[in-house]
């Protein structure tokens, strides 16, 4: 398939996917009993009061009108207002985006070089001590839930490092959350790089390059490595999906005021506009990341 046609098709499909997720979340939230007015009325579930709140929120209008109003606001960045604080959802999300972006980029900055290094090192000495250790630790660590790992790390390192981000997201405060977030993806990524590297090193083109007198380092890092990391790039896209999940846990444990905290609070308060806004944001991120990963993989190892 020609890359241009492929890119065009994927770019066209992406907004459709995001729009479908957004509509599904909106409609699901609507058809279920107990709307926002009931939640807002809280301890005072007086039918008259509920009706008044419903009217002020515009919840008494027909479903399609409300859906059109909500969906029409999305392109303008209008996601509605939080039921709890009354603040615009977009502002809440943008405020929370900062800490999460710092956390996620710090994790990726540690994760990507480390997993490529570990995978390559294990592959170059296949069956060696480091290789066997990496495989054993990888299988074990991969299964540990983030929150369990987090509390163990807090008990062990709590005296040396800050265990909350209450004093701001300083580099020291990032160490434990990043370690917790990077642990599971590190296992899967380094295994993939290792497997890809072993396969590519044994391939005909690598042997031919060596036979032609290309220096070994050049064969390893210029010819073999790009092919070897291709499956890992696609796994990295799935890692971003995990990161969004792991971030929820890491932020809850280490008290970081990011998207995960916003999400958990919105769930606790049944703050549907915030949840809908987050659903759109998460869906858009996931779709874009997968698209980017496919394109990078295509660029690294162009195939039919």
């Amino acid at each position: 398939m020609r890359p241009a046609g492929y890119v065009r098709r994927r770019l066209l499909l992406a907004p459709v996917q995001v729009a479908a997720v957004a509509s599904a979340v909106f409609l699901l939230a609507e058809v279920l009993p107990g709307d926002a007015a009931v939640v807002l009325a809280g301890d005072d579930p007086d039918p008259e009061r509920i009706a008044r709140i419903r009217e002020s929120l515009g919840l008494d209008r027909p479903l399609l009108t409300r859906f059109a109003a909500w969906a029409g606001g999305l392109p303008r960045g209008d996601f509605g207002e939080s039921l709890v604080s009354g603040r615009p959802v977009l502002g809440l999300v943008l405020d929370a985006l900062g800490p999460t972006a710092v956390l996620a980029s710090a994790t990726l900055a540690v994760l990507v070089p480390l997993s490529v290094w570990a995978g390559v090192a294990a592959a170059l000495r296949e069956g060696g001590r480091f290789d066997r250790a990496l495989t054993a630790v990888g299988v074990a660590l991969y299964a540990v839930p983030e929150f369990a790992l987090a509390v163990v790390l807090i008990v062990v390192f709590g005296g040396l490092l800050p265990v909350t981000a209450l004093g701001g997201l300083t580099p020291a405060a990032l160490v434990l959350p990043v370690a917790v977030l990077a642990a599971r993806p590190l296992c899967s990524l380094s295994r993939l790089v290792r497997a890809g590297m072993i396969g590519a090193l044994a391939s005909g083109y690598a042997a031919q390059a060596v036979r032609l007198g290309v220096p070994e380092r050049r064969v390893r890092y210029v010819h073999v490595l790009p092919n070897a990391v291709t499956p890992a790039v696609q796994q990295l896209a799935r890692t971003v999906d995990w990161l969004l999940g792991g971030v929820v846990i890491a932020e809850a444990v280490f008290v970081i005021p990011g998207l995960g905290t916003l999400l958990v609070d919105a769930v606790a308060d049944r703050d549907l506009p915030v949840l809908q806004g987050l659903a759109v944001l998460f869906a858009a991120t996931t779709v874009l990341v997968n698209l980017a990963a496919d394109l990078v993989a295509f660029r690294l190892a162009p195939r039919a």
């Binding site: 995001v18 279920l32 846990i249 809850a252 444990v253 999400l263 769930v267 659903a279 779709v287």
Partner: protein, 250 residues
């Protein structure tokens, strides 16, 4: 040694409730490391008793949600794969394409908000369902449109024999390979959800809930957090290692 990793937490989870002293909930001082074997928790309850009680639900959710997701997911995937009209296949599978666009923990929290009071089993099951349905459909497609199914249909064999016994049998190997990661994945989701307080009561005797609730007293009585954390870590690591070995020894 390797088996002990998952056998110990499983035994504690399954037999613990019998060993726990019945109904005798101790209300002493919070986070007192001197009372009892592992000290007391945030409410002054004996941590060891809570550990004995706290695994049953997690293991039950893990097993029931995995089994339920397989039961429905396999039927869903087989129905889509054997559908004779393309439209039926599309109608069954297209909606599932939306779900990978949402991170699974987010989906879980979303479902918990939309269905308050819906048990954890159902929610975790729903999160895993699309994945299994897609896997089964992809694995069954070849067998479902092969000559054997044609022949079985011409002979007038029942739906059970054609779809479930024959086509279902052809995907058994794929499912067996998937079962291990699926079970640990369910455990992971169920534990994470309980930790975030989804679908469990806030003072439940549950390993994940214990970790969340006793974190405040980490310095006073670390065992109130470490004991349940070690149980969960041993169980997930042990199961993952066991399934990994089983897969590599075909």
């Amino acid at each position: 040694m390797r088996r002990a990793l998952y056998a110990v937490p499983l035994l504690v989870a399954l037999c613990g409730p019998w060993l726990a002293s019945s109904g005798d909930v101790l209300h002493g001082v919070s986070y007192d490391p001197e009372t009892g074997w592992l000290g007391t928790d945030f409410a002054g309850r004996d941590v060891w008793q809570q550990v004995l009680l706290g695994g049953r639900e997690l293991v039950a959710v893990m097993v029931l949600a995995t089994a339920g997701a397989y039961l429905i997911g396999v039927l869903w995937g087989l129905t889509a794969a054997t559908a004779r009209r393309r439209l039926a296949d599309e109608l069954l599978m297209r909606p599932l394409d939306l779900l990978p666009a949402v991170p699974s923990l987010f989906l879980l929290l979303l479902l918990a908000t939309l269905f308050p009071g819906g048990g954890l089993v159902w929610i975790v099951m729903l999160v895993h369902l699309p994945d299994i349905a897609r896997l089964v459909r992809a694995a069954a497609l070849e067998a479902a449109h092969g000559p054997v199914v044609e022949a079985l249909r011409l002979q007038g064999e029942s739906w059970w024999r054609t779809t479930v016994r024959y086509v279902g049998g052809s995907v058994a190997r794929t499912l067996a390979a998937d079962a291990g990661t699926r079970l640990t994945g369910t455990l992971y989701l169920a534990a994470a959800a309980s930790f975030l307080g989804v679908g469990v009561s806030p003072d439940a005797a549950d390993w994940a809930v214990m970790i969340e609730r006793n974190r405040a007293g980490l310095l006073l009585n670390p065992w109130a957090v470490l004991a349940p954390a070690l149980m969960i870590i041993m169980l997930s690591v042990g199961l993952n290692l066991a399934f990994d070995r089983a897969l590599r020894r075909p």
